[in-house]
Each structure stands twice: as structure tokens, then as C-alpha cells.
């Protein structure tokens, strides 16, 4: 039977737990420094572990990134949202999503130089926005265009706020940012062209 706190020297010697500690440390580094500037030795150091253990658990640096960038796409219930408020709900959702953890920042920073990360970013937005656009526009091609345009504004906001850190964007509160951006998303997804 397993003892309760059998006076562990420093930390429990549990496989899955350290694996998760490594994964989170990697996510933070990738989010802050991007793919190439993040080193296995740094991640190992942050997790209090030998670099070889990182390799043992994840196989290679790209695989470590893939694991660190895993994302569960939680979209809000949009069926019950009135069509004219879709832009607002989406703007608020994405803002919260980008700030609740640093997975998306990690993917974005890495995507600038890593084509796998770029592909993952495309997939994320295809899964999140395409269904919404398809429900509003019957034409598939037009729906894809509208979803991508909405993505361009969401990503532009994320880029200027979290990566390039434009002061004027960083200083805006959630409500202000939503007030500015929601109408843009609304028009891209459901509006006319002007």
C-alpha cells in the first residue's frame, strides 16, 4: 500500500507528474522566447530535471513543442447568441482565451519561423471560426474568406498586444478593446463588404 507522504527527499518521484512539469516549463519558454531560442537545457533547468529526461519523455525538440502546444479548443455556446452580438461574444472569448494560458502565445511566436506551428495556428482558427462563418454564409468559399478575415483581426490584436507590445494596445482594457474590435468581427462574419 502506498504510504501517505513517506518523507520524500525533495519531490515525489512520479513519472507523469514530472512529465507534466516539463511540458508546462516548455510551454512557458516557447511562449516567451519562440522555438529556436528555447533550449532543452533551459526547459530542463526550469523543471528541475536533467536534459536527458526531457528527451526520454518527448523524443525530440519538435515533439516537445508539439506536446507543449496542445490546446483544447473551448468555444462558447454560440447557438443561443443573437446574430448581431456574435462579434462581441467572439471578441471577448478570444481575449480571454489568449490570456487564460500562454499556449496560443507559444504557437504564435513559434509560427513566425516554424512551419509546423504556422499550420497549427491555421488549424486552430479553421476549427474555431469556420463553423461560425459557415452558419452565416451558405457559400463555402465566402465562408472561408470571412473566417480568415476575422482571424486576421484577432491575430493582429494578439500580435500587437502580446508580441510587439504596442503601448496603446497593451494599455487598453478588455471592455474598450472589445468595443473597438467586435464591430470589425461582426462585419467580417455577417456584414456587407462596407
Amino acid at each position: 500500500m502506498a504510504e501517505v507522504d513517506p518523507q520524500m527527499p525533495d519531490r515525489a518521484r512520479s513519472g507523469p507528474a514530472t512529465r507534466e512539469r516539463i511540458r508546462l516549463a516548455a510551454r512557458e519558454r516557447f511562449a516567451r522566447d519562440g522555438f529556436e531560442r528555447t533550449t532543452i537545457r533551459q526547459v530542463a533547468g526550469d523543471a528541475g530535471v536533467d536534459p536527458a529526461l526531457v528527451m526520454r519523455y518527448f523524443g525530440s525538440k519538435p515533439q516537445l513543442f508539439a506536446a507543449a502546444a496542445e490546446l483544447d479548443i473551448r468555444m462558447p455556446r454560440l447557438a443561443e447568441v443573437p446574430r448581431e452580438h456574435l462579434g462581441e461574444v467572439l471578441a471577448r472569448h478570444f481575449l480571454h482565451r489568449w490570456e487564460s494560458d500562454d499556449t496560443l502565445q507559444a504557437i504564435l511566436r513559434a509560427a513566425a519561423t516554424n512551419s509546423e506551428a504556422a499550420e497549427r495556428m491555421r488549424d486552430v482558427f479553421a476549427e474555431q471560426l469556420l463553423p461560425v462563418a459557415r452558419e452565416l454564409a451558405t457559400d463555402h468559399r465566402e465562408a472561408a474568406t470571412r473566417a480568415a478575415l476575422a482571424a486576421s483581426q484577432v491575430l493582429g490584436m494578439a500580435l500587437t498586444r502580446y508580441v510587439l507590445r504596442f503601448p496603446a494596445v497593451v494599455e487598453l482594457g478588455h471592455d474598450e478593446l472589445v468595443a473597438w474590435i467586435a464591430p470589425t468581427l461582426q462585419r467580417y462574419l455577417a456584414g456587407d463588404r462596407d
Copy 2:
């Protein structure tokens, strides 16, 4: 007196010319691969030159990047543009600007991991859009917000089109793209909040 074509073995042995060749090769690499993945040896190879010569001319890799990312900010005459067409003129200007050479792509890719490049990107947009916003909004703080929001859409477009290569954005022609984005810029710079 200088001979005209004195049967050069391969290329003229001119300092400034090779320096410029190196600078352009570096710009291309930085635009394609970002800062860290670009190596001095690659740039030297592209320019048909020894790596040591790159160092001799530019001093260090960051200084090489700074030289490669030099940009002359050519803004169109905006004084004679009717206020209600500002968005359209700007959208078209930026689209052309991003595609006429790869300097901005180089800065954008590098900016994801390099804080100097991020600062340069902030400066570029401060110089380009702030004056426009200031002419339309008397309040300096509001002008800065409006300029930054316009920047977020321009950069979001550039990111999805040139870096992440969202198919739906890549496939759009200039006119279509302008038709979609111009109203957004117009509203950010000169419109109400909704």
C-alpha cells in the same frame, strides 16, 4: 582612369557593391527564416563571399540585421485625399508596401523573437499612422489608440497573408482585400466606436 569592363574574372572587386549584395542577401534570408535561423554563413554563401567579409562590413549579426532592415518610409500624399477615402488609400498603400520589397516581412518575422525588431516595427507604424490619426483626432491619447488599432489590422493582414499563409487570405486579390479591410481602417482612424 578607370577602364570600361577590364575583363573582370568573375565580378567587379568593388567594396560598396559587394556590401550592398550582402545586405540584400541578408534581407532575403531574414524575411524567409527570421533572425535566429538565418546564419552568417548562409548569407555569405548567397552573396558569394566569405563569412568573414560579412563581419568586416557589418560588425555583428544584430548590426547586419539592422542594416538589412533599413526602410525608407514613403507615405503617399494624404493631404489631398478626401477623408472618407483614407481607409481605402491606406489599405492599398500598405498592401503595395508589403509586397514591393521584403523588408517589412523581415522585420515582422524577426520581431517575434527579437525585441529590437519589435521596437522597429512599433516605430514604423508610429511614424506612418500616428500623424494621420493626429490630424483626425485632437486628443493625443485617442489618436495613439486609433493608430494602433489600424496597425493591428494591417499587421493581422500581413501576418495571415505572408507569414501564416492562410489560404483564404493568400488567394484574395488586391481589390478584394482592400474592399474588405479599408472600411475597418476607416472606422478605426476616423469613425465612431461602432
